[in-house]
């Protein structure tokens, strides 16, 4: 039993690291812009499709497709904010949720029309091979991508605490009017934060292609997981996001192994309800 649980936990931590990267995009949008984004999971889903098609149509490996998707998704997010979200950033939460739900419905419909409903997956080309841990073989690509996710999160932490723009981000997340009076362009910071979030969705989408398959309904799974991780972590810490990502990843792999992959969401949902009941500010939340 124990020989089984240790490798499963390790696999859970690996996928959980990518989940942490995924949810940090949402966390930054929620924290900085005060925007409730239900479309994040579908950005991840679309990024997975872009990775898939750059793999098969252009014969690009996953790592190369990131170079393509990140600027693309950052631009899409930036424009989407300027065109639509700018209008509703001060609206009630109901309007924000409704608009982002409209976005995800359009994205999902496009995915159904363009790519069909069948699941698709790729196999990694550059980082091949696997190592065996306690009798379970784990692809090296997964370990590499999990490590890359953690490194990117550390880089973001450096950016948010040490650079001028990062400090502006944190100022806007604390208050909206005072930064404006100090000469920070709050609107620009908001647009940048939304683009940043979608760019993180693009990276994590590319990484997730080596962990799982993609179909148009995957957006639901990712948005639920990402919001549960944000709630579990609370706002304001990267450490919390990483640990919560690991917890969710471990729960998911354990249920998938011992029961069914479809039941995983149910346990994540139960955890979500318990966290809201016991600690609504999250386990590591500052505010």
């Amino acid at each position: 039993m124990l020989e089984l649980i240790i490798p499963i936990t390790i696999v859970g931590i690996l996928i959980g690291s990518v989940y942490a990267l995924l949810s940090f995009g949402l966390s930054i949008q929620f924290g900085v812009m005060n925007l409730i984004n239900f479309a994040h999971g579908d950005f991840v889903m679309l990024a997975m499709y872009v990775t898939y098609f750059s793999y098969f149509a252009m014969n690009l490996p996953t790592l190369a497709s990131i170079i393509l998707t990140v600027p693309l998704f950052f631009g899409i997010g930036f424009l989407l904010y300027k065109i639509t979200l700018k209008k509703i950033i001060k609206s009630p939460q109901l309007v924000q949720i409704a608009v982002t739900v409209g976005m995800f419905m359009v994205m999902r419909g496009m995915a159904f029309l363009l790519f069909g409903a069948e699941p698709r997956s790729v196999s990694e080309k550059i980082i091949v091979g696997s190592i065996s841990i306690f009798g379970m073989s784990i692809p090296i690509s997964r370990i590499a991508f999990a490590a890359a996710s953690i490194l990117i999160l550390l880089g973001i932490n450096f950016f948010l605490t040490k650079t001028h723009t990062g400090l502006a981000f944190r100022a806007v997340s604390d208050d909206k009017t005072v930064p404006q009076s100090l000469g920070i362009n709050v609107d620009q910071i908001n647009a940048f934060a939304f683009g940043f979030g979608t760019a993180l969705a693009a990276i994590s989408g590319a990484f997730l292609m080596s962990f799982s398959y993609v179909d148009p309904m995957q957006g639901f799974r990712f948005i639920t997981l990402a919001w549960v991780i944000v709630v579990l972590a609370g706002l304001g810490t990267i450490k919390g996001v990483v640990f919560s990502g690991w917890i969710i990843g471990i729960i998911e792999t354990l249920t998938t192994y011992f029961w069914s992959s479809q039941a995983a969401l149910f346990f994540v949902f139960l955890l979500f309800i318990i966290i809201l009941w016991v600690k609504p500010r999250g386990l590591w939340g500052i505010r």
Binding site: Q93, L94, V99, G102, G109, L265, F266
Partner: protein, 340 residues
């Protein structure tokens, strides 16, 4: 006021005569689907429109009603009319369980929206894996007759759905005029202020949600006898999203908004489907675009457009009346001023 009553009686009379006008059973089937969504959207108005809680759990409550009624009829041959209130109560219990944790004061609306959306997916997987009751294969109701509300003609189901729709509208209207309705609107506009004024926000929201879930459960029991079979796919997030879209597009601030939205948009969808065939992604894009356009341009919904036209015409009449009235007054006054 009497005009409003006259207008609503007229609409209900038209809707109840509709099957006779349509004639063909296939059209009655389509009309039943439209009324089904209109009934769901009308009950959604209670927590969604009045209390401002974005609820995506319509499919959960509907599915609970469907499974309670369906299981009792197929397994133990319990009459439909006995399972009817049980389905409603089951859905209500789930709603209270969900709302109790997510309506805690100080939590944002997003947590209820998220929990309700996740509940649909969780229940879908649970009923897929729970082989004794659900499972992957659809179960059929073979019983016939009035005790099980199973008929060959769709006309009975049309009236059953219409009955539930009118009940939902009446309850919604009653609540909107009651103390609870004022409390709920206060919560929608500013929850902190409502709490400070001494309104028990959690209890009010729970009450609204429980009534809504009860109604949705009832509609679910009607749906299972209407379709005649049930399986786990009733827990479909698409149904929940559809109801939210039609209700918000119609206008969530007035009682006839969700109802009108459902009548118009579901008819348009059925029209598209009959012309183009069922293309899976197309309805997602259609409803997504409708939601985006309405929310960005007119967040109060498209019924406010009709309202504007109505007010313009009525306002003109009343304004001209006022003007003539003030002119009269002027005429009366002016001579007296001149005298002075």
């Amino acid at each position: 006021m009497s005009k409003k009553i006259l207008f609503s009686v007229l609409i209900i009379a038209l809707l109840s005569l509709l099957p006779i006008i349509l004639g063909l059973d296939y059209y009655i089937l389509l009309a039943t689907y439209i009324i089904f969504y209109a009934a769901l959207a009308s009950s959604w108005y209670i927590p969604g429109g009045m209390a401002g809680q974005l609820d995506f759990a319509a499919a959960s409550y509907l599915g609970i009603g469907v499974f309670i009624s369906g299981t009792l009829i197929t397994f133990w041959e319990i009459p439909y009319w006995v399972t009817l209130p049980l389905g409603g109560l089951g859905a209500m219990a789930l709603a209270i369980g969900l709302g109790y944790f997510t309506f805690r004061f100080g939590l944002r609306e997003v947590f209820y929206a998220l929990a309700s959306l996740a509940s649909v997916l969780s229940l879908q997987f649970l009923f897929l894996l729970w082989k004794d009751v659900g499972g992957p294969i659809p179960r059929y109701i073979y019983q016939k007759g009035l005790t099980f509300m199973r008929f060959d003609s769709n006309i009975y189901y049309y009236y059953l759905m219409l009955f539930f729709m009118i009940i939902a509208l009446l309850i919604g209207y009653k609540i909107s005029k009651s103390k609870l309705g004022y409390f709920l609107r206060c919560i929608r506009d500013d929850e902190d202020a409502a709490e400070v004024l001494g309104i028990n926000t959690r209890a009010c929201k729970l009450k609204a949600l429980a009534i809504y879930a009860f109604l949705t459960g009832l509609i679910g029991t009607a749906y299972v006898v209407f379709v005649g079979s049930y399986d786990y796919t009733i827990f479909d997030p698409e149904i929940s999203l559809l109801i939210v879209v039609v209700a918000l597009a119609g206008g969530s601030r007035v009682i006839y908004g969700p109802f009108t939205g459902a009548l118009v948009l579901v008819s348009v969808r059925e029209l598209f489907r009959s012309q183009l065939g069922a293309i899976r992604g197309l309805s997602w894009i259609f409803y997504g675009v409708v939601l985006l356009v309405i929310m960005l341009l007119k967040p109060s919904g498209f019924v406010t457009l009709f309202e504007k036209v109505y007010k313009k015409n009525v306002g003109k009449i009343s304004r001209s009346k006022k003007e003539s009235f003030s002119k009269k007054n002027k005429n009366n006054r002016e001579p007296s001023h001149e005298k002075d």
